[in-house]
């Protein structure tokens, strides 16, 4: 009843108009409603500040235009008058009132910040590593995202997709391997720098999936790198997929290891995308940030340290994957980090087989070893025992 009475009055239509304007402004500045509880808090604070902005701006500019209309020089003979040169109460008022208005902005900014920083103890922890120019992820059981890569921009630069559980707090523990990056999730209205030699963290609570989300198999959010990091800064993105808790558990279990029946060549091609090799090395023969893998095996190259003529063989590949900084091919930057400790022996061997398979110089007969399955590989490794 109250509501009806209000909406029929002029005040009611004004407040409806304002509410509409509020929603319109909010939709202008945010694509979607926030995807976490902290995001909603930030949006509300944003809109509070927005209203202070709008009211102050309209009032101040209104005064200026009014003064211009009334006191422009053409009206000098009518309106130009001596006036006070200062007014202490007025000046005190316009110093103190803004201060009071700012107290809630400061206070809720602070509480929201604390909320975004302090993850609950039961949060799902995911390790995030940034390097020029891709993100890698690692789950509590050691699993790393495999398989799906997506194109966010149209520049043919694939970025990884990783999953988080809906309805469970998620804490990211992050570090960088080279320069400073920043992990920015616009839909969650938060970001944090990712710094070399140091861990930073952020957390969020992904809202449970709606029916619509479920029908699409999950909800997608974009991640950007927000701290300038060089040539592919603008392509250094990731896609976060919010999935149900059971699906999350099943997927990271499945990701802990490679499928036992896959052969090493298959594993190598998966490592190629999962570890982000493909962001610098093409397999098509095109030059990218790094040399292409097409026909690399069995070829010779020149290096910035003066070495030349060394044939690319299995040993060369192993050494240059694990200790990339040791020798740099002429004409290429020094951006590739050392991969020692970041790849399992299986992954290194699989990569070598894969690169070998990309060369025309390799005869099909030479690839037989690459047809070994993961299961066979592991059994062999086990039988070699501790001597290996």
């Amino acid at each position: 009843m109250m509501h009806d009475a209000l909406s029929s009055s002029a005040f009611g239509s004004l407040s409806l108009g304002l509410a509409g304007f509020h929603e319109w402004t909010k939709s202008l500045f945010f694509f979607s409603t926030g995807a976490s509880s902290q995001a909603t808090h930030t949006e509300n604070l944003f809109m509070y500040i927005m209203w202070i902005n709008i009211v102050s701006f309209v009032a101040l500019m209104g005064l200026i235009f009014y003064f211009i209309a009334k006191y422009h020089r053409g009206k000098q003979s009518e309106n130009y008058q001596v006036s006070v040169q200062h007014n202490t109460p007025l000046e005190l008022a316009w110093s103190i009132i803004p201060l009071i208005i700012m107290v809630p902005i400061f206070y809720y900014g602070f509480t929201g910040y604390l909320d975004k920083l302090s993850a609950p103890a039961d949060a799902e922890e995911i390790m995030v590593s940034g390097q020029k120019w891709n993100w890698t992820f690692s789950y509590r059981n050691g699993a790393q995202p495999r398989g799906d890569q997506v194109m966010l921009t149209k520049s043919n630069y694939p970025v990884p997709q990783f999953i988080v559980p809906a309805g469970r707090p998620v804490k990211l523990i992050m570090s960088s391997k080279d320069v400073i990056h920043a992990f920015y999730i616009p839909d969650f209205r938060t970001k944090m720098d990712v710094i070399p030699n140091r861990y930073t963290s952020m957390w969020f609570f992904p809202q449970p999936l709606s029916e619509q989300d479920k029908s699409k198999g999950g909800r997608l959010h974009t991640v950007f790198c927000a701290e300038y990091c060089g040539d592919y800064h603008s392509e250094m993105a990731a896609q976060m997929k919010v999935v149900s808790i059971p699906e999350f558990e099943a997927t990271i279990k499945q990701w802990t290891d490679y499928n036992p029946v896959d052969d090493l060549l298959k594993v190598g091609s998966m490592v190629y995308t999962a570890k982000g090799c493909n962001s610098c090395h093409s397999i098509s023969g095109d030059k990218n940030t790094g040399p292409t893998w097409k026909n690399m095996f069995g070829d010779t190259h020149e290096y910035t340290n003066g070495e030349s003529g060394k044939l690319v063989d299995e040993n060369w590949l192993r050494e240059n994957i694990l200790y990339s900084q040791k020798r740099i091919m002429k004409g290429y930057p020094t951006s590739m980090p050392n991969y020692v400790g970041q790849l399992t022996p299986l992954e290194v061997d699989a990569l070598i087989w894969y690169i070998k398979s990309l060369s025309d110089k390799t005869k099909p007969a030479d690839l037989e070893g690459g047809k070994k399955t993961v299961k066979q590989y592991k059994e062999e490794a086990k039988s070699k025992g501790s001597s290996n």
């Binding site: 945010f30 006191y71 130009y80 008058q81 001596v82 006036s83 400061f106 944090m192 701290e227 040539d231």
Partner: protein, 601 residues
Amino acid sequence: MATIGDIHKSGLPHHGHAHGHDHHGSYLERKGGMIVTIWDWMTTVDHKKIGVMYLFAILFMFFLGGVAALVVRTELLQPNVATVAASGSVTYSGNLIGHAFGQGENIAKSNEFYNRAMTLHGVIMVFLVIVPSVPASLGNFLLPLMLGAKDVAFPRLNLASWYVYLLGSIFAIISIVQGGVDTGWTFYTPYSTTTDAAYYNVVWMVTAAFILGFSSIFTGLNFVVTVHKLRAPGMGWFDMPLFVWGIYGAAIIQVLATPVIGITLLLLIFERLFHIGIFDPRMGGDPVLFQHFFWFYSHPVVYVMILPGMAVINEMIATGARKPIFGYRAVAFSTLAIAGISFIVWGHHLFTSEGEVAAVVFSALTFLVAIPSAVKVFNWISTLYKGSISMATWNLYALAFLWLFTIGGLTGLFLGSLAVDLHLHDTYFVVAHFHYVMMGGTIIAFIGAIHFWWPKMFGKMYNEFWARIAFFLVFIGFNATFFPQFVMGSQGMPRRYANYVDVFQPYHFASTIGSYILALGFFLHLFVFLHSLAAGRKAGPNPWGSLTLEWTNASSPPIEHNFDHEPVVTHGPYDYDNVIPPQTAPGEFVLPKPAAVAIKH
């Protein structure tokens, strides 16, 4: 101290009968042939000539930085779209700049080109344009004139600062010619200590910034001493024009903060050249330390940029409304308050660096610094009340400053609020915010001020009609360029991106078109100024009816020694209620009607 005393004895006009000339020529008068004239300018210690040389150098650098900005905006007109042929080879379209430089097939090269243009724009605009803009050009020209002095306190140091500026610019140009740098103007480590490892561009550019710092320190020191020691008889601290207060506040920051960036950049150079681990964690350094050092200078320097902008606004608003500045003392003290608080807010650039709870202190202080800035805006608007508001181009710029700076200041509230900053930090929202403050504030004030003092500097009037057209182009272009950036920023568009996802395209498109309109406005201004120099109407000594000393006691352009006789201050700089501006035609300017109700002062 002895030096200052000597200048007093030998140099100041009230001892100046010794010069014994009744007629002094304009400072622009040529002393002889071309070579003599050039030598005269190169070796001059006249603050006016040094100011004019700075003005042209800064405007040239503004042109270079502007071209870099247009390159950046053009690159962002469309996102890069890759087409993968059946053979697997990739071509990129939408990559206008990449294509123009023959790099259309290689996104890495095209992104790298963008990063260099973006850095070039930032470095030039900050270190070579905005920091020196108002103080080095107009400050040099006007400070002694406004104080009734013959020159600044240390004229030779002043000339030295100009040559140091030139030297710094040469280092920057050497770096650019070698291919430029891709670090961003902030030189964040460890990116800046590792990028282009085989080249010395970064070292050249950082050295340029290091050298330019000394130019800034020399000028600041000179101004502080000048304001303290060389005020005309009768001019107390609160009789100084507010322009002087603003320049004084900025000069104090320049002297105190610039050494910090000097040592920081030196450490950066040492790390690059000699691999001393200070900032790079691989050598045991701390990358976040650099951010603290850098912003400990670079936040105060934001106020070195804005205080002189506010300083010229005071003069234009008072003359433009023919009113005393409302709350003179509040404005003067606000200037000092801003200068003081500016030293303790640097941490607000690091809210996302580590997520320290200590950020709360910096957030609180940041809101505190908003108050004196807001007070100034309120005072300026109140000054218009019952005034006689001029619609000359320079006053349109002053009014546009109020519009743009208010947007810049208000949007700072979003960024000072910790939770909201985690979302907006390093997005286009920040880019828009600081362009509204730095460009909408300082550059807009600077362009307005050049119009305002143009007749005094060169003795010529400019074409008011075309200048106004140019003003409207600049104003509309500016808002069209930067307002969409607020929107895309809060929608999630990170800054320093050579490429972007499709949803941001409409905003980038609007922004780029806006930047073209803006450029058109600036070019029109350039033509108006060139036309004025070539064929402008001769200016009277006080065309705008101002009351500060450079208008009331000096000719246009001023004579070489500024004043025929040392001026004695008999009225306040804004005493429009009681004094008809001297050196104006009778009836050209009138006194206001007495207040309807008697006013108690």
